[in-house]
């Protein structure tokens, strides 16, 4: 299954790549240790190199550090970024230059940096951070594999809705009275 990212230009136009909003919340540092470069699970990149792809994968993970989500789930973001880079030379340049800048920041390959340094150096590249962040919001959280991980069941029409699949199965609170919540008709 592949994610269904919104057309990048559409979403960026709508969101304006809001850099300022990032400042509104302090980004936490993930304590989860990231495994060393483990390949991209057969993901074939066309515009980006494998190193760029892996760096962007770790960048997506650094921005949205879900402790229980394995790296492979972030691969869809890299695929979407690679597709954008194929379509837009500007995007390709932003991503490639961004990765190069990350690697140069401390003089060690960025993916080998500590979690704290990774975040700080990424925050020093706000255009790259926003590009990866915006793409991750629309690609990562729209991936049915990721939904399964979060136990979000998604579409229901083809299964007859949630009427007989738990729409009112919450049993840790008393049932509301019928005048407030009538029985199923």
């Amino acid at each position: 299954m592949t994610p269904h990212p919104v057309d990048r230009r559409t979403f960026l136009r709508l969101t304006g790549g809001a850099a300022a909003a990032a400042a509104m919340i302090s980004a936490g540092v993930s304590l989860v240790s990231l495994p060393a470069e483990a390949g991209l699970w057969g993901l074939e990149l066309k515009a980006l190199t494998e190193h760029e792809g892996m760096t962007l994968l770790k960048a997506a993970r650094t921005i949205f550090p879900h402790r229980t989500l394995a790296d492979v789930y972030y691969a869809g973001v890299v695929k979407a970024l690679d597709e954008d880079a194929q379509k837009s030379p500007d995007t390709a340049r932003l991503l490639k230059d961004g990765v190069a800048a990350l690697d140069k920041a401390v003089g060690v390959k960025w993916i080998d940096l500590s979690a704290g340094y990774r975040l700080a150096t990424l925050q020093a590249q706000p255009k790259l951070l926003d590009a990866v962040k915006d793409k991750t919001v629309t690609a990562l959280y729209n991936d049915p594999l990721v939904w399964r991980h979060f136990a979000y069941e998604g579409p229901s029409f083809e299964y007859g809705g949630y009427l007989h699949r738990g729409f009112n199965d919450l049993n840790w609170l008393p049932e509301p009275p019928e005048e407030a919540s009538p029985k199923v008709g």
Binding site: A18, A20, G161, G185
Partner: protein, 522 residues
């Protein structure tokens, strides 16, 4: 379905096929009036709707270029998306949640009831609840609103159970599954709700009322409707006498045509309705059509909104079932002792994981953000919607340089909260959080307003021509055969979701227009 000649000047042209325009077109057709219904968007159906938030957004949302200004957070996070409304046959009745609440009596006389609020341009409506009651009753019947006309309420889902329990523990009295234009039983040829969720993405069953599959097919069956999808109105034309004569529009291929008309009814949702009047400026009307007051585009309202999502130690799975599954109405009265005038409603709401990620705290990242999403299945949510203060500076204007695909200036939407709006939102956040704490929440999040779904007031109704754009029938003060038929005619916003009142006003207007025609006033 009929096809009328573009030179047929006996037709009424209705622009926009949503709650106002779709209802008005059908009511006129039923009375034998020939209607050309121009709709900028394409025609979808229950069969083409998708249970996928982003796909449905691209399929139905209004994504033409728009700009934003002002201090509202939407201008920063979504500068090109001031409103979350639709460009499709059926308009935003495809996307709406279904809440169908009548305005309260005092809300029609906000200026009298609330007094002089500094910075607010409050005005009493030129009509009363009593005048509207028979039309409200007809609208509720047409739409099949639960808890009216003997229609049972919908069963509450998990999200409702959490809100109900917390609200009752907190002492709220009026808590139930709402008055919803969603079938709780098969009715009017449409099936009962199967608790699919995805109400915002177009109801694939047609259990939720929409003009797309209720009013429009009925209007087509009369032989009096010529629906033209993917035909976007560009300007409204007038004659030397100052009456409107037709509408210039672009068809799907981009070719431009003029449809002549006996009367024109504008129902494009508040941003486009006021933009259309402003873009129709001429040497005779240099400030735009129907704008002798200078108020076209002004007093833009979007309701005080916000959401509270809370995390529990046990699962909720709020996304299962109707998106808006219940309501607390106790805060909807005007009780200024709370520190603000007007009231607000608390209504359950859920977003799927994709939209929760986009709207929980736009632009945010890091562990505070991912931890909230990690608890997605343990989350309950409510939307807070209340009356915002009409302010003259909150307005739709034509952008000085940005043009749309037809070369016309795009709309800029300016909005700043009034202090009353902020005080109400703060109160609503506190009460919403308290509801969930009373139900055992571990944590509650104050979620900022989404792009506007309730766009109101840019062509407001007034008794005096100097105070607004149209009269109590939605007929513009300046041009007798030009009508405002959507939420832009609202004088003030009330606390309630506006669709029922838009439909009600359209049903009433559909009585007035034929009367004016038979009297030869138009």
């Amino acid at each position: 379905m009929a096809t009328f000649d573009r030179n047929d000047d006996s037709v009424v042209v209705v622009i926009g096929s949503g709650a106002g325009g779709g209802t008005l077109a059908n009511e006129l057709c039923q009375k034998g009036v020939k209607v050309v219904l121009l709709e900028a968007g394409a025609r979808q159906s229950t069969g083409t709707f998708v249970n996928d938030e982003w796909k449905a957004f691209v399929q139905t949302a209004w994504l033409d270029k728009r700009t934003t200004s002002g201090t509202w957070r939407v201008a920063k996070d979504f500068p090109g998306l001031p409103a979350w409304i639709c460009k499709t046959v059926g308009g935003s009745t495809v996307h709406w949640a279904g809440a169908s609440l009548r305005f309260q009596e005092h809300e029609f006389r906000a200026r009298t009831e609330y007094g002089n609020i500094p910075g607010a341009g409050l005005l009493d409506w030129p009509l009363t609840l009593k005048e509207l009651e028979p039309y409200y009753a007809k609208a509720e019947d047409n739409m099949g609103v639960t808890r009216t006309h003997g229609i049972p309420g919908l069963p509450g889902n998990n999200n409702f159970k959490v809100m109900y329990h917390g609200a009752k523990r907190l002492g709220y009295k009026d808590v139930h599954t709402g008055r919803m234009a969603i079938n709780s039983r098969p009715r009017d040829g449409r099936p009962a709700c199967q608790q699919i969720g995805f109400c915002f993405q177009g109801c694939k069953l047609g259990a939720k009322w929409s003009t797309l599959y209720v009013e429009i097919p009925r209007a087509e069956a009369t032989g009096n409707l010529d629906l033209r999808p993917e035909c976007q109105a560009l300007t409204i034309q007038h004659d030397a006498g100052g009456k409107v004569t037709g509408v210039l529009y672009a068809d799907k291929a981009g070719a431009q045509h003029v449809q002549r008309a006996r009367a024109v009814c504008v129902a494009c949702n508040s941003i486009e309705s006021s933009r259309l009047l402003l873009n129709s400026a001429s040497s005779r009307f240099p400030g735009g059509l129907a704008n002798s007051s200078g108020l076209v585009g002004k007093y833009y309202m979007r309701h005080m909104t916000g959401s509270v999502y809370a995390i529990f130690d046990k699962p909720v799975n709020m996304y299962r079932g109707t998106t808006m599954a219940g309501i607390v109405t106790d805060e909807s009265a005007n009780s200024p002792a709370r520190g603000f005038v007007g009231g607000y409603e608390m209504e359950t709401l859920s977003l799927g994981l994709p939209f929760m990620a986009a709207f929980l705290n736009p632009g945010a990242y890091g562990e505070p953000f991912t931890e909230a999403l990690d608890d997605y299945t343990h989350m309950a949510g409510m939307w807070l919607v209340g009356e915002d203060m009409p302010q003259e500076r909150n307005r739709v204007t034509l952008h000085a340089t940005e043009k749309d695909q037809y070369g016309l200036p795009v709309p800029d939407v300016h909005f700043d909260d009034h202090p009353n709006d902020a005080a109400m939102r703060s109160h609503a956040y506190r009460q919403g959080s308290a509801v969930y704490q009373a139900a055992g929440a571990l944590k509650a999040y104050e979620v900022p307003p989404y792009p506007s779904t309730h766009n109101l007031g840019t062509n407001r109704m007034s008794a005096r021509p100097a105070d607004g754009v149209c009269n109590k029938w939605g007929q513009t003060h300046d041009i007798p055969n030009l009508f405002i038929s959507d939420g832009s005619q609202f004088t003030t916003g009330g606390a309630e979701n506006p669709t029922l009142t838009i439909v009600t006003l359209a049903i009433r207007q559909a009585e007035h227009i034929p009367e004016e025609m038979s009297k030869r006033n138009i």
